[in-house]
């Protein structure tokens, strides 16, 4: 096409097609959010993503590892967006050598990782120095997400603490976290999720990074077993809570908390849709893209997330008696 010659090499075609791999809750909601764009749905059981043209955007929104498919997709000159929180998969994706890639790999465009990184980066703009980032999530999207939640409570949970990774037992470290209403207060525990790894890459100067997820006593005690009953088709209203501690420009201590209360599938799909539209508009740099990265247009991405119906909230604190 004559018009293609004027498009910069790092940008996709004028109207790139979006290929969504997966048929779960997040994938279905993502397809609905992107209804104004050409969207093709692929089954994750198929061996390869077919019918693509260079510059298209592939969203891996299925369960299981994404890393094996990513290299092939990038080699085919496609942008890739992954939606997932598997720790092993994230480590494999972070280890990929994308030095010469002229396409983008957006890693973990979901609620957490994903929205947690964007919110953390936005909150960090109020700080002179950030010392601690603590993320907590409540709820699950579809059955695959629920199974991942179940497994995550039995593995080792990576926590960045004073310059070193510390592996805590999943299901330990109970903390009562206050999520946005209507979720409210939930007991939350350490879990094997990828958010701390990605946040540490995006905020290498931060001394403490942790991630927790809400769980009931039964979840913790049965975490080492297979799920005792099939998960629900979709979890209820979930929530995300991101807390940053540090110092403001005057040196005073500052603690800011923000989050969302939304169906996890909707929030994850909104983040993926925000990155898809940003990729289509050519505002995402090539190579490995982490959601908390300082080089990203975080405000623009958060506005895109809100445009898909996810309402960001901030904790105003409780007034102290005079």
């Amino acid at each position: 096409m004559p018009g293609e010659t004027t498009v910069p090499a790092v940008h996709p075609a004028v109207h790139p097609a979006v290929h969504v791999v997966g048929r779960g809750v997040v994938a279905q909601r993502l397809v609905r959010m992107l209804h104004r764009r050409p969207v093709i749905v692929h089954d994750s059981r198929w061996a390869a993503v077919t019918g693509v043209t260079p510059g298209d955007i592939v969203v891996l929104a299925h369960g299981g590892p994404h890393a094996p498919a990513v290299v092939g997709l990038l080699d085919r000159d496609l942008h890739v967006v992954t939606v997932g929180d598997s720790l092993d998969d994230t480590v494999a994706l972070l280890d990929l050598n994308l030095g010469g890639a002229n396409r983008s790999l957006v890693l973990g465009a979901a609620m957490s990782p994903g929205l947690s990184g964007l919110v953390a980066r936005q909150l960090a703009s109020s700080f002179a120095t950030v010392d601690e980032i603590h993320v907590a999530i409540h709820g699950t999207a579809g059955p695959t997400c629920a199974r991942a939640h179940h497994r995550s409570l039995s593995g080792l949970s990576p926590t960045w603490r004073d310059g070193a990774w510390v592996d805590h037992v999943g299901g330990s470290g109970r903390e009562l976290c206050w999520f946005p209403e209507p979720v409210g207060a939930k007991d939350s525990y350490r879990a094997r999720i990828a958010s701390p790894l990605l946040l540490h890459r995006a905020f290498p100067e931060v001394e403490r990074i942790s991630a927790r997820r809400s769980a009931r006593r039964r979840d913790r005690f049965t975490a080492w077993l297979p799920m005792l009953r099939p998960p629900y088709p979709e979890g209820g209203v979930g929530a995300l809570r991101v807390e940053l501690r540090g110092a403001d420009p005057t040196g005073a201590r500052l603690c800011l908390v923000a989050g969302v209360a939304e169906l996890v599938g909707t929030a994850a799909a909104a983040v993926a849709a925000a990155f898809v539209t940003a990729l289509a508009d050519g505002v995402i740099p090539p190579g490995l893209v982490l959601t908390g990265d300082a080089t990203l247009p975080t405000l623009d991405l958060l506005r895109r997330v809100e445009s898909f119906g996810v309402r960001l909230q901030e904790f105003t604190g409780v007034p102290q008696p005079a």
């Binding site: 936005q122 946005p180 209403e181 923000a258 989050g259 405000l299 623009d300 958060l302 506005r303 809100e306 309402r311 960001l312 909230q313 901030e314 904790f315 105003t316 604190g317 409780v318 007034p319």
Partner: protein, 46 residues
């Protein structure tokens, strides 16, 4: 019978103690202000 009376006595004492705490205890008034509000994103300066 002796065991039964002892158990009954313990339960009664526990009930009296719980009622005392319930009636006389003061946990204070929960916060009436604060909480969550919509996050206003700053204007784009680009």
């Amino acid at each position: 019978m002796k065991l039964f009376r002892r158990i009954l006595a313990v339960l009664m004492m526990a009930g009296v103690a719980a009622a005392g705490i319930r009636i006389r205890g003061s946990g204070g008034v929960p916060p009436q202000h604060g909480g969550w509000r919509p996050l206003e994103l700053p204007p784009d300066r680009r």
